[in-house]
């Protein structure tokens, strides 16, 4: 069964839970199993948290735009923020010994670990988009 769902969330921490709940419901409606749903849940939480904190910097007038889609390739998620963007290559590797005891910087590692495709691009209307795909 194909489907798509779009939602706009305010830039606050509560949106992380809301996004995850909606994604869990949508994934279950698509008949996806617990492990699959669990991976999507973590990826959504990390990407929406990044958009709220680092992208929109908690500016409530800026939304986090989330798209969930069941496609031929799998389960596709896009998360757009309205921030200035960042260079993915400049994000430090949290598994390097010098970074192990840092309190932050593991979200992208989790997204990459649990999803099959994770890529970032600048949106033509401004802001940054992360697109993630989980294959069945």
């Amino acid at each position: 069964m194909a489907g798509i769902q779009e939602l706009k969330l305010p830039s606050r921490i509560e949106s992380v839970d809301e996004a995850a709940i909606r994604a869990d419901e949508f994934a279950k409606e698509q008949g996806l199993g617990d492990d699959f749903v669990s991976a999507i849940d973590l990826a959504i939480r990390e990407s929406v948290a990044n958009a709220v904190k680092h992208g929109n910097k908690f500016a409530e007038e800026k939304t986090v735009d989330l798209t969930l889609a069941r496609t031929d390739e799998g389960f596709e998620i896009t998360v757009r923020d309205y921030g200035a963007g960042f260079a993915i290559d400049e994000i430090p590797d949290p598994t390097n010994p010098e970074n192990l005891l840092k309190a932050h910087g593991r979200g992208i590692l989790f997204m990459r670990s649990f999803m099959d495709v994770v890529e970032w691009y600048n949106h033509e209307g401004g802001g940054m988009v992360v697109k993630m795909i989980k294959r069945p």
């Binding site: 509560e14 669990s38 939480r45 005891l101 670990s113």
Partner: protein, 115 residues
């Protein structure tokens, strides 16, 4: 409803915190930080975190575990982890933090390791 409840027990000079709920961005992480700060303020520096009841952790929660570990170390104490769920164990493996934390399955074994 709160994301997490944290109960405190004492076993000799080791303080055990039983965590039940989620250690995630927001309330769960803040509650853990508060509990660790309070213990350190009371001079309790041998701390065992029982994570058996923690069903969910995100990168913020993992970061809070690391912050707790470094805060306790800074006070000359020790923080160890007890009863990781498979999910948390997987996240600690991915982040290579299993090489940092002392992790135990049995409480008795964990307690004797503080001696």
């Amino acid at each position: 409803m709160s994301d997490i409840t944290i109960s405190e027990r004492q076993a000799g000079d080791v303080t055990i915190l039983d965590l039940v709920g989620k250690v995630t961005i927001g309330e769960g992480s803040v509650a853990l930080r508060g509990a660790i700060r309070r213990l350190l303020g009371e001079g309790k520096t041998k701390i065992l975190l029982n994570l058996a009841g923690v069903g969910y952790v995100d990168s913020s929660g993992i970061g809070e575990l690391v912050s707790s570990y470094t805060a306790v170390n800074k006070e000359g104490g020790t923080l160890k982890l007890l009863k990781l769920t498979q999910k948390i164990q997987d996240l600690l493996a991915i982040t290579k933090l299993l090489t940092v934390f002392d992790v135990f399955d049995e409480e008795s074994e964990a307690l004797s390791s503080f001696a």
